[in-house]
Symmetry: C2
Amino acid sequence: MSDTIRIEQALSDILGSVQTEDAPPRLAAALRYAVFPGGARIRPRLCLAVARACGDDRPAVTDSAAAAIELLHCASLVHDDLPCFDDAPMRRGKPSVHKAYGERLAVLGGDALIVLAFQGLAAGCADAPARLGRLLPIVSRSVGLPSGIAAGQAWECEPFVDLSVYQRAKTSALFAAATEAGAAAAGVAPEPWRLLGDRLGEAFQIADDILDVAGDAAKLGKPVGQDAAHARPSGAAQLGLEGAIRRLGVLVDGAVASIPDCPGAEVLRAHVLQVAANLLPAEIAEQAA
Amino acid sequence: MSDTIRIEQALSDILGSVQTEDAPPRLAAALRYAVFPGGARIRPRLCLAVARACGDDRPAVTDSAAAAIELLHCASLVHDDLPCFDDAPMRRGKPSVHKAYGERLAVLGGDALIVLAFQGLAAGCADAPARLGRLLPIVSRSVGLPSGIAAGQAWECEPFVDLSVYQRAKTSALFAAATEAGAAAAGVAPEPWRLLGDRLGEAFQIADDILDVAGDAAKLGKPVGQDAAHARPSGAAQLGLEGAIRRLGVLVDGAVASIPDCPGAEVLRAHVLQVAANLLPAEIAEQAA
């Protein structure tokens, strides 16, 4: 089964398991709207790729971990787009959740997606409590305090912000959770896998900053120029476009170099390089040359 | 150690564990503000009381379950008070979180409290993965879809609402989680304990509806008349004040009768009756006579 099918199936199964006839229909619809169709699903793909490199002996556990990571990512997008934050009208090429379903269902939808990540993890690990014991701290800390997504977003509400602390929390935390959870889902010690996620997360964030400066709103499916508009810290603003593109290359090299010895290391290195190659459109990447 | 000290200590420890110096200070402060000082802590007390009745052989597990239930309750209050829902200026006798810290930190604060419940559960069950495997589905489903708190709140966004479905999700779900989690934390099968939580939750909800009609805002620390103002379904409106007070009595009797055989059943029955006696102020309860 391809990773695409595996991820979409896992997400669909988890959503389906709670979208029963006693669920409030509009909230259920808002959840599905927030999750499908997805973006690049880069985080759950990374989780699967690491699990596979480590043997992936409990695929149901891996699927629930990958789906949890993606659901938490979707939740953060729904809440980030709210009027009190970015007030973003579009996301993934269609109206954002609060535009389509109203602000109340966007708040509740984000909440329910966070919770669903943990419901799914519980279900996927029903026969593997020891793995659940490793996964739950990894997944939960990636979205909370002190250094998960909610903390990252909250740095935007502080008068003084350290760019690297901000970005590590807002973006790298969930990438690090994806690699650590991939390893833990396969029964392997997660800590050595953290660096891969950290570096890929930082690479992804800087690519996102670059696209916000130099990208094309129509191709991205969301507005550009948002970092400047919201006075958000930005790597592209701090390093300049060329400096940011150079930094991206250094981070990708570091990510590849960090991959621990494991049965599938070679395939995983190729996966990481392919992910990295897709972070920027060719016309922007060429400016670096 | 009294239950009060035990609960406050558990909450304080969990909050302290994530309020490190790399956490965004205003979000960290908003979280503490949302949790302390608490209300009656009725849900975590119930969780502890059930665990004790079942032996409470792993107090750290019990504490993390009770704290998780309370953190999820606090999260729901923070989000319920937001401008797009109740726009409540006051909560527990002081400005609501969005009034004190702004709407963005109220959204993120609720998110972070939800996540913290699971971080705390992971930490408390670090040496008890089998118990974690029982607790995580109980705790997570109580706040998600199809019938947890977020679903309950979302029924307010639907054109047609069944009062009992709405209230079961919005209130009873977390009470049922408190009793089930208390049993599961003590290593006992949780299902037989669900009815106690369901009935107490329904009793609590109808008492809340009664207070919203007949209570005193100054004593409650929050505005009254909110159900009518927001056109929310209300048991007191549906049954009339006297009918609602009668229904409350039936539910409390049913709750006491539902307590399964266990070593501490007698003490637990007394606890439940005491909780019930405090649901309404004497002057309102006397109207029923």
